[in-house]
């Protein structure tokens, strides 16, 4: 009698060598699971309970795993030449528990790293805009995270990951087990990131109440819905994009799911709210409204780079050797993006501009998210390099030709380069090029655009005509810090902004 086992828990990738083996059920006419179980596994994995007793303790789905809850495993038993599948219920081995703990630790650390991207975004956006709006930008980023946490807790997580049977509102059944916590935390910081990306596109002119309103909707609804289509099955959901055209829409760490969605929402926001006063001359020529603290912005960029080491490698939510490969590819793409952007802007504007260089390395890391787990070194390099060049011309095109005012370039960095990265998977992420894969990716990108830009337009227009989206002209000129928050960012320093 030969036994092979099929795991019901995809994350337990570790081979359990101590329990593998061949064995015979002597004279087995009928296969008794109890017997099979005892022959394959040491007795302590059953804690003296019967198979039926253990089965009752099974979590609702394999996703709700825990170090103390039992798992279900299918063992193939060879009875006199005929194969029979037997389902066995048992508790985790010590080594499986260690693996589980490793998964939890790494997923949490990755979530902490993604969390600090909030600070990175805040620094980047504040540094790239004017001093008179710095408090407002800080407040938006704080609120993105506070609101994001509570909105995703209350509603978003359910929308994104619930199956048909259980509720995940306010964590729901997840709270009963341990795995729900690291998984939720990691997903929560992702959701907050999407809202924060949008912030940059509508900076320096958005009413704070309007901002809060859209932040809730993005974290509770817009992001989770698209997320459920692409990533639902990471827990109990099942997204229709996951099986698209048979090959599935592929987006490992969110070039589209997080970045492009954020970018297209920002595009909708920037269109509805219009450019900042003074951004375009009467003839439409764009004017520079330089940021007030570029070193601060650059450090924000470095902090984002750090965060990406959680964002991409953490997306496996698995403690295994693969995370290093993903970290390396992320790093190569970031570095190549920085080089691509500095080369492009230097050639085009004759100066190695710092803002574009920062956008460049960010663009490289945005683009690599989709294929980061499967790409080669050369693939990562090209994806990053192209993103770096692309972001430069995208920023210029959006500003000069489309006359859209995106103060920090988030439409280009996250929207455009997110789309590039998602397409690039079809060229650098698969063994052999397949037109089906390319189509699947393009459809995913298209669906993402339609969803995010569409709901974004509705959302921003709705806010515009209800609570109001934009501050008054006088307030915009004086700065949102005084108008919205009643204070100044830099008391004691004379700040003199000669722009409107």
């Amino acid at each position: 009698m030969k036994v092979t086992r099929t795991w019901s828990i995809p994350l337990l990738v570790l081979l359990l060598s101590t329990v593998f083996g061949m064995f015979n059920l002597v004279g087995a006419g009928d296969v008794v699971p109890e017997e099979v179980a005892q022959s394959v596994f040491p007795a302590e994995l059953f804690q003296g309970k019967t198979q039926a007793e253990i089965q009752k303790e099974l979590p609702i789905s394999g996703a709700y795993r825990d170090e103390t809850s039992p798992v279900e495993e299918t063992v193939t038993v060879d009875v006199g030449g005929a194969e029979k599948k037997v389902t066995i219920f048992r508790y985790l081995t010590d080594i499986e528990i260690m693996q589980y703990r490793g998964d939890v630790l790494w997923t949490c650390i990755a979530a902490f790293l993604v969390f600090i991207m909030q600070a990175g975004f805040a620094m980047l956006e504040a540094g790239f805009t004017r001093a008179k709006n710095a408090i407002n930008i800080m407040m938006k980023n704080i609120m993105d995270f506070c609101i994001g946490t509570i909105a995703f807790l209350a509603i978003g997580f359910h929308i994104m990951f619930a199956g048909p049977d259980e509720s995940l509102f306010w964590l729901g059944s997840t709270a009963a087990t341990q795995w729900g916590f690291p998984f939720w935390l990691f997903q929560c910081v992702f959701a907050a990131t999407t809202a924060t990306i949008v912030s940059g596109g509508v900076a320096e002119r958005t009413k704070f109440t309007g901002y809060l309103a859209y932040s809730v909707v993005i974290c509770a609804f817009i992001y989770p819905v698209f997320g459920s289509w692409a990533w639902g099955s990471l827990l109990d959901g099942s997204g229709w994009l996951e099986g698209l055209l048979g090959v599935g829409f592929y987006d490992f760490a969110g070039s589209t799911v997080v970045h492009s969605i954020g970018g297209w929402l920002a595009l909708a926001g920037a269109l509805v709210i219009g450019p900042r006063i003074g951004k375009f001359a009467k003839d439409g020529t764009p004017k520079a409204l330089p940021g007030h603290n570029l070193p601060f912005a650059v450090i924000g960029g470095f902090v984002l780079w750090l965060g990406w080491f959680g964002f991409n490698p953490g997306s496996t939510t698995t403690f295994d050797g693969n995370l290093a490969r993903i970290a390396v590819m992320t790093n190569i793409a970031g570095a190549a993006g920085g080089l691509g952007a500095i080369a492009a802007i230097w050639a085009y504007m004759k100066k190695p501009d710092v803002g574009m260089t920062v956008n460049g390395f960010l663009a490289g890391m945005v683009a690599i998210c989709t294929a980061v787990d499967v790409v080669t070194v050369t693939g990562a390099f090209i994806i990053g390099l192209v993103a770096g060049v692309l972001v430069v011309f995208s920023v210029i095109f959006i500003e000069r030709s489309l006359k859209i005012d995106d103060p920090v370039g988030c439409i280009s960095v996250h929207g455009v380069c997110g789309a590039w990265g998602t397409i690039a998977y079809a060229f650098f992420g698969v063994e052999e090029f397949s037109i089906t894969v390319l189509f699947a990716q393009l459809i995913g990108i298209g669906v993402g655009f339609v969803w995010a830009f569409g709901t974004g337009l509705v959302l921003f227009l709705a806010i515009k005509y209800t609570i109001g989206l934009r501050v008054t002209k006088a307030e915009e000129e004086e700065g949102l810090d005084i108008g919205e928050h009643g204070g100044e960012a830099y008391t004691g320093f004379p700040v003199h902004d000669l722009t409107p």
């Binding site: 003074g278 005084i482 009643g486 204070g487 100044e488 004379p494 902004d497 000669l498 722009t499 409107p500």
Partner: protein, 112 residues
């Protein structure tokens, strides 16, 4: 020679420079000042305490100019700086005795 001091709103500076150039004024000095006047400041709050900020950022332009040009300059400044809202600012004209260009040592009208 006269010295024209104009207190204006900061965002008028670019336009002002252009318009003054057009009438042949190619030198000026700008400083960042804070003004108190009819234009009311605003209340600010800081960690629960409220306070009044009365001084509003303004720009002071200083232009040394030949007597004959001064009228035209004042006119131009008045037109450009005017938005019709309280706080548009003031123009003051003071007498100047001499002007010297450091680089060349020239003095008087040719120095400015």
């Amino acid at each position: 020679m006269k010295k024209i001091e104009a207190i204006i709103k900061p965002f008028k500076v670019d336009e002002m420079k252009e318009e003054l150039s057009k009438i042949g004024i190619n030198g000026m000095t700008l400083s960042e000042v804070k003004g108190f006047g009819r234009q009311k400041g605003h209340k600010e709050v800081y960690r629960g305490a409220e306070y009044q900020v009365d001084f509003i950022p303004k720009v002071k332009l200083e232009i040394i100019i030949d007597d004959e040009m001064s009228g035209k300059a004042v006119e131009t400044i008045k037109t450009v700086a005017n938005t019709g809202k309280i706080g548009d600012g003031k123009i003051f004209v003071l007498p100047v005795e001499t002007a010297v260009r450091i680089r060349t040592g020239e003095s008087g009208g040719s120095a400015i």
